[in-house]
Symmetry: C2
Subunit: 213 residues, 2 copies
């Protein structure tokens, strides 16, 4: 009981430190300090640094997937499914920013069994999303390249958010999800069809620093 609580707090500290410094650069000493214990004490709760990264990643996908299944239960309209998928993603994202940043950015550092298990649960998440996109496209072939590309484009849109999102400046999960859903369903909109050649001033250069590359 006490152990479980302490372990979760260790995971949270690890997520924070890994998110801030990057998995490689973050030292086990940083994590220990953040968790308020000694290095040796930290190792009472994990076998290795990599296991910490694994735990953060796996736990994140686990919660994300369970929440998704719960929210999608009984919903049959593909457009609604899409919206729910995106909302669910962003809500988890905004609640556990650090963990999601680690998942998005550092999961690839895992090796062996850790890698295999995270890859597997990631794949479940991907496939659930692909099912939705398949319905949207009216695509009969699950192996279709277009289905793959489109699904991965959607993942790009929503996963990239961790590189630029700023609480306060940007909308909340719901608003962001609405915008992205609309964009994915209908594109930038009918205005796109005009083809006028007017130039636009380059004001508004403030605060575009992140997320561009």
């Amino acid at each position: 009981m006490r152990y479980e609580e302490r372990f979760e707090s260790v995971l949270k500290s690890a997520a924070t430190v890994f998110a801030r410094r990057g998995y490689q650069r973050a030292s086990i000493r940083d994590v220990a300090k953040a968790a308020g214990m000694s290095v040796a004490g930290l190792y009472y709760y994990c076998k290795s640094k990599e296991e910490l990264l694994f735990a953060v990643c796996y736990h994140s996908f686990d919660v994300l997937l369970q929440s998704l299944h719960r929210s999608l239960k009984g919903v049959s309209d593909p457009k609604e499914q899409l919206h729910i998928f995106i909302v669910n993603h962003f809500e988890y994202f905004l609640t556990y920013v650090e963990a999601m940043k680690v998942v998005s950015h550092e999961a690839g550092m895992l090796t062996g069994e850790f890698d295999a298990r995270v890859t597997e649960i990631k794949r479940q998440y991907y496939l659930r999303c692909q099912q939705i996109v398949q319905l949207l496209l009216g695509e009969p072939d699950a192996e279709s390249p277009r289905l793959r590309t489109t699904t991965l484009a959607l993942f790009g849109m929503i996963n990239w958010v961790y590189t630029w999102y700023r609480p306060g400046r940007d909308e909340d999960a719901k608003g962001l999800a609405d915008g992205m859903t609309e964009l994915f369903l209908h594109g930038v909109g009918p205005q796109a069809a005009v083809g006028n050649g007017q130039e636009v001033g380059n004001d508004g250069e403030r605060e575009a620093r992140r997320g561009a590359g």
Copy 2:
């Protein structure tokens, strides 16, 4: 002359090693070995490991931006501009996969002046893209949240590619760019409007491992 050639080959080796192992995990000894020289010899061409990362990132954006400006010259149709932007991005991406992976994944590790300079050139790239999206949206306000979100969604789509692209399996730059342009302009298509509740089998689970998180 000889120096320049050697330096570029060092950059290329650095990009490869950083892409494969990650910047932090990659040691200066790995880079030296890949470049075919000793550690001390490598330091004749750079002042620090971080300077190597900076050089890779900055050089990439430099080439990308110059190529973009060249391609956009004289084009006034926003839709055509968008297509050119995406094609340019993917063509560079597929030609210099390693460098682009480093740029996308590791540029955030830079600090101080290195960070400032890469952030600045990244911002130029972002703003050029934002201009195009602004035309497409018919958006008068350059500070509009919608403009920001939409532009960054586009960046997400095209930047995420490095996590899943596989030569051979996936389309070439042109094909990929056509698909993404179409998706960004018009969404998943009119089929999306039906709202039918039909279920879809979960075949096609092979090879979805990457890019999902």
